[in-house]
Symmetry: C2
Subunit: 244 residues, 2 copies
């Protein structure tokens, strides 16, 4: 038995997110079906992160076990034969049996993309969210430092989050601007439900002067979702990479 | 009666191209319907260029005449209310009655986008065409100079082209590379049917060493479509701007 690690990219637009769906519209399930066609075995694919409906991925990681004798490095070519163009495996390799796509992950990086415009720009709508033209980039940057480090993110996750601990570590958080496109990169040891989308919405509100940079400190103290900013739409979010 | 000039952006993916279609799936027709809802008049919209099915646009230009008393600069807001998110008017203004979106155009710029990869990259498939990894960028650049100037582009248009003259002028042609994405920008006084897609395919074949840069000269002399390179898919093509 071999354990195979896959790096996967997808456009989230048409799917109900990563998780397997009874209607067959989850990305995990579509990949399992494709793998089955290659290995002729029942397959359980474990992903590093459960992306929501509409969220894109450049480097989702997943693993599965197989008795197939196919060269592990060439597995991805075979699987791709059975995948649509908006879900593709970029690479594959053999890993040790104690590797786990989710539990072995050390760092995850997400990117949220905004664009400044009064009008919807059709060619940017594909993976970005319009934010108008009253966004102060330098002010928004001042909010970043408050998110860094190991903190309780209770105020920055969906009220439906059911986990033992809402403490997470953010290693890196960066805002980049190129012309009218603004990208927020966040790297952490893990993320709570809607956490990146709420952090993005809070930083947006700082840039729009709805909140002050130093308000973030108070929001953390309140430990209550309602004090943070809006939850940004799924569409602007991309899972960039998983590090092990 | 006022003449209104519109600058329009769209994602070509779901449409049968610019030209009005009897099935309602042409971008021109969708815009005319939206304008009609604003002006309550029958409207004939003239576009600067007829983009094919699947071709995107950042700056298509079109004009129409109206008796509406709406502020010409605000027309686009009203029209956008009746348009889907993948077709939007970016701006509007009044022009003199001798302005014609197509006949007054001095320069048109198209962009063709390729990406280098062995595997389909879902997040680039939206507006670019995969070309493998054996593309020599510097070699391809050497082909560019042969296209510049006023020439007979008979070898570089579809055999179905029915026009009096196949002579056109290319003012500027440029290749840019950023990581694995290559963009070809072409500015000319006008383009024949499939001309940008065939020029793109020919430059691609030079980069792939199927053709030599100096072969372009011979291809022009042959005045025969079959000597040029392949017609690239519509998807990688974007109408960038029209200048007056």
């Amino acid at each position: 038995m071999k354990r195979i690690k896959l790096t996967i990219s997808y456009v989230g637009e048409k799917y109900n997110g990563w998780q397997k769906q009874s209607n067959g519209n989850g990305i995990q399930g579509i990949l399992e079906e494709a793998i089955k066609k290659v290995t002729h075995e029942e397959t359980a694919l474990e992903g590093a992160g459960r992306t929501d409906a509409g969220v894109h991925a450049w480097g989702q990681v997943a693993h599965f076990d197989t008795n197939s004798r196919l060269n592990p490095q060439k597995f991805f070519y075979a699987i791709n034969q059975f995948l649509p163009d908006d879900i593709k495996v970029l690479s594959s390799c053999e890993v040790s049996s104690d590797f786990h796509a989710r539990f072995s992950a050390k760092k995850k990086t997400y990117m949220y993309k905004f664009y400044e415009s009064e009008v919807i720009l059709p060619l940017l709508e594909f993976d970005a969210t319009k934010i108008g033209t009253n966004f102060n980039f330098n002010l928004a940057k001042k909010a970043l430092k408050y998110f860094k480090g190991t903190k309780d993110f209770k105020s920055f996750c969906s009220v439906n989050t059911k986990v033992k601990s809402t403490v997470r570590t953010i290693y890196k958080i960066k805002l980049k601007k190129e012309k009218n496109v603004i990208k927020l990169f966040v790297t952490g040891n893990g993320f709570l439900y809607n956490m990146v989308r709420i952090i993005s919405g809070t930083i947006l509100e700082v840039g729009m002067k709805i909140k002050k940079p130093e308000d973030i400190k108070t929001i953390f103290e309140k430990q209550d979702r309602k004090f943070a900013g809006r939850t940004m739409p799924a569409k602007g979010l991309t899972l960039e990479k998983i590090e092990y």
